[in-house]
């Protein structure tokens, strides 16, 4: 057994810290925005980790991951909208999203996973864009560009009191109201945790080893007797299902589902950036990538706004530093990372600092 490097220890410490921060987020950061950020981080950790199963562990590049996320989100959203806020709607919608994801993933997988990686990437990109257009066209069902708002089960409503004190007011723990919002956050947190641990378990199982073998040398894996197409299709379906579940959970948390939150190509780019920045082929990388990117999305813009004003006199620079141009800088960072640190932050860190 090899000793962990100092880098690995650092990564593990960071993981423990992130887990603790997310677990106690409602108590540590008592403002609405911070809780939104924490919930988004939880969801994106799952989403990026499921994408990492594809790109990092098996070497499949898919651009349809948000499509599955969207299936889950829209499934739950449409069910809640049509059937009213009940658990039956949540269950039905989630299952419908899962079913659709499974069918589409199987079809795409069986048709196109035989071909070269590059064809697969192109085909998934085309499929995802068609679904995006369909979602905005079928506005009766999906609300089109505006998306849909709906009510969620009463347990998750902010007005719901989980516990009351003697006067009938909502009970506070350490200054935090025990209301439905808290329940919703922990629903998001624990579902994400379970899904993440499940994927972590898969990567260390024999299945995970086969996937890595396919990534490293497809022909050899086939020669040993593993049916590469079957494994690829399986992992594609698996990651699609996880993404779909994450989508359902996110739609319940947001109480709103639209192309921008669940289906747009921008989310796909976010996922790509997260997985590459964090590090492909390590589940921990998904965590680091998601945390950094979501934080950047929420807080970097403020910083860039200030920088843009500071450079107001110079040509072009203020436009490039404008808060809306944050993707420009992340894109450059992304390219540099792929060149110089293809293993991402976590992958690079974990190989550093070998212990004697």
């Amino acid at each position: 057994m090899m000793k962990d490097t100092y880098g690995t220890l650092a990564v593990k410490a960071a993981m423990a810290l992130i887990a603790a921060l997310l677990l106690f987020a409602p108590f540590l950061f008592q403002d609405v925005r911070a809780i939104e950020v924490a919930a988004r981080i939880c969801i994106f950790i799952v989403l990026v980790a499921s994408y990492d199963l594809l790109i990092g562990y098996t070497g499949i590049v898919s651009f349809a991951h948000t499509m599955f996320f969207g299936f889950g989100a829209y499934g739950a959203a449409i069910a809640l909208r049509q059937m009213g806020p009940g658990w039956d709607a949540v269950a039905l919608g989630t299952l419908a999203g899962l079913g659709l994801s499974l069918v589409v993933a199987t079809v795409i997988g069986l048709i196109s996973l035989r071909v070269k990686a590059i064809f697969f990437a192109m085909i998934t990109l085309a499929a995802a864009s068609v679904v995006l257009v369909l979602a905005s066209q079928l506005s009766q069902l999906t609300g089109g560009e505006d998306g849909i708002t709906y009510r969620v089960p009463s347990l998750f409503k902010t007005a719901t009191k989980l516990a009351v004190d003697e006067e009938g007011k909502v009970l506070r723990w350490f200054g935090v109201r025990l209301n439905g919002k808290l329940a919703a956050y922990y629903f998001v947190f624990f579902t994400s945790l379970v899904l993440f641990l499940l994927m972590l378990r898969i990567t260390v199982s024999p299945l995970g080893t086969v996937l890595k073998a396919i990534r490293e040398n497809e022909a050899r894996a086939e020669a040993i007797g593993y049916r590469v197409v079957a494994y690829r299709t399986f992992v594609f379906c698996l990651s699609a299902l996880v993404a779909s579940l994450a989508g359902s959970v996110y739609s319940i948390w947001l109480k709103y589902t639209g192309p921008d939150t669940a289906l747009s190509f921008a989310i796909m780019i976010d996922i790509l950036l997260m997985v590459v920045i964090g590090g492909m082929g390590t589940m921990w990388g998904a965590v680091v990538g998601a945390v950094l990117m979501v934080m950047a999305q929420y807080y970097l813009r403020d910083l860039m706004g200030a920088a843009s004003e500071a450079t107001a006199g110079l040509p072009l620079l203020p436009e490039l530093l404008a808060p809306d141009r944050w993707l420009f800088w992340l894109g450059i960072l992304f390219i540099l990372l792929v060149y110089f640190f293809p293993r991402g932050i976590v992958g690079t860190l974990m190989t550093r600092g070998v212990r004697a």
Binding site: K116, M122, I123, I269, F334
Partner: protein, 333 residues
């Protein structure tokens, strides 16, 4: 001798089989539409769109065929071409009203500016973005995707997010009306230019020494290299040419749409990918075939069943991939 014969018969078989596909589609559409005048209008529109898409897609296909490099950032050239041409046309706005000669000069300037930009951007792109990741598909996809993100942001920073109107020379405005058939002049112009470029490419590939080397490189790169030719240098040329054609296609498309947004490249990219997949990577003829099929289908379906219009390309691609997994006329391997 018999080898030549079988090859000839194969070519003939192909000629009859796959190459006539656009014709069959047009015939089927004629029967379904039933109104000859609408059919002519739609067919011209489809052919014009096909030719513009062909301009955008041909470079992508050649680059992949020659170097096994798929550039996901290809659509950036399309967008840049559109915006550069729009800017030049707007700057030369005075010329556009000053008679056909001056207006054509302005148009030529715009198209040449787009091509020049495409050449320069292609050179930069190949050297800086693609060269370090030859032969590594995963990183290639990621890096070109990153480059696409950055390019889109640059377009947004330079031209802003609001739609830009593209002025057109007066002699390309309007339509010819023959009986009850109306044909937009710009569409004929787009078709003509596309056909010209296609012929030029065919001549370049089939009648020149460089074309011979390119075709040989597509077939077997190692062999050409071992015979002492520098495929890498050839590849830069092909890449630049492909980028320039994409920029030209973008410029033409800008004139066609007359109102362009930075999302243009992204929208066209999907169509371009579908065309390249349908046609088979690496072959110019395949790309033209795919482009015409996609252009015609898009227009016919848009008329017959507007709701299906957007999914039609996708369905078409699925169907063709089931029939011929590597496209209609693949050139490679």
């Amino acid at each position: 001798m018999s080898g030549v014969m079988t090859r000839a018969s194969e070519t003939l078989g192909r000629f009859g089989g796959v190459n006539l596909l656009p014709l069959w589609i047009a015939l089927a559409a004629f029967l379904l539409i039933g109104v000859p005048s609408s059919w002519v209008t739609l067919t011209v529109a489809g052919l014009a769109m096909g030719m513009m898409v062909f301009l955008m897609a041909s470079g992508l296909s050649l680059v992949f065929g020659l170097m096994d490099v798929l550039n996901f950032g290809h659509s950036a050239f399309v967008s840049f071409g559109a915006f550069v041409a729009a800017t030049v046309l707007a700057a030369l706005g005075g010329w556009l009203d000053g008679g056909p000669l001056l207006a054509s000069a302005a148009l030529a300037c715009a198209l040449i500016a787009a091509i020049a930009f495409g050449l320069a951007a292609g050179l930069f792109f190949e050297r800086v973005i693609i060269k370090p990741v030859y032969r590594d598909h995963l990183r290639q996809i990621l890096i070109t995707m990153g480059a696409l993100i950055v390019s889109e942001q640059i377009i947004l920073a330079v031209w802003g997010g609001t739609p830009v109107t593209v002025p057109r020379p007066a002699f390309l405005e309007g339509a010819w009306i023959i009986g009850d058939v109306s044909i937009e002049i710009y569409r004929l112009f787009a078709f003509g230019l596309g056909a010209l470029v296609f012929l030029g490419l065919i001549l370049l590939l089939n009648r020149t020494r460089i074309g011979l080397l390119i075709r040989a490189g597509v077939e077997n790169r190692e062999m050409v290299e071992s015979l002492g030719f520098k495929i890498d240098r050839l590849f830069i040329g092909v890449f630049m040419l492909g980028s320039a054609l994409a920029a030209l296609g973008g410029a033409m498309w800008a004139g066609y749409e007359t109102l362009i947004t930075p999302a243009l490249g992204g929208e066209m990219m999907i169509v371009v990918f579908i065309v390249v997949i349908i046609g088979g990577l690496g072959s110019i003829e395949g790309t033209l075939l795919g482009a015409l099929i996609v252009g015609l289908t898009a227009n016919y379906v848009g008329y017959l069943a507007p709701k299906l219009a957007l999914a039609s390309n996708m369905i078409l691609m699925m169907a063709i991939l089931m029939w011929r997994p590597s496209g209609l006329r693949p050139a490679v391997k």
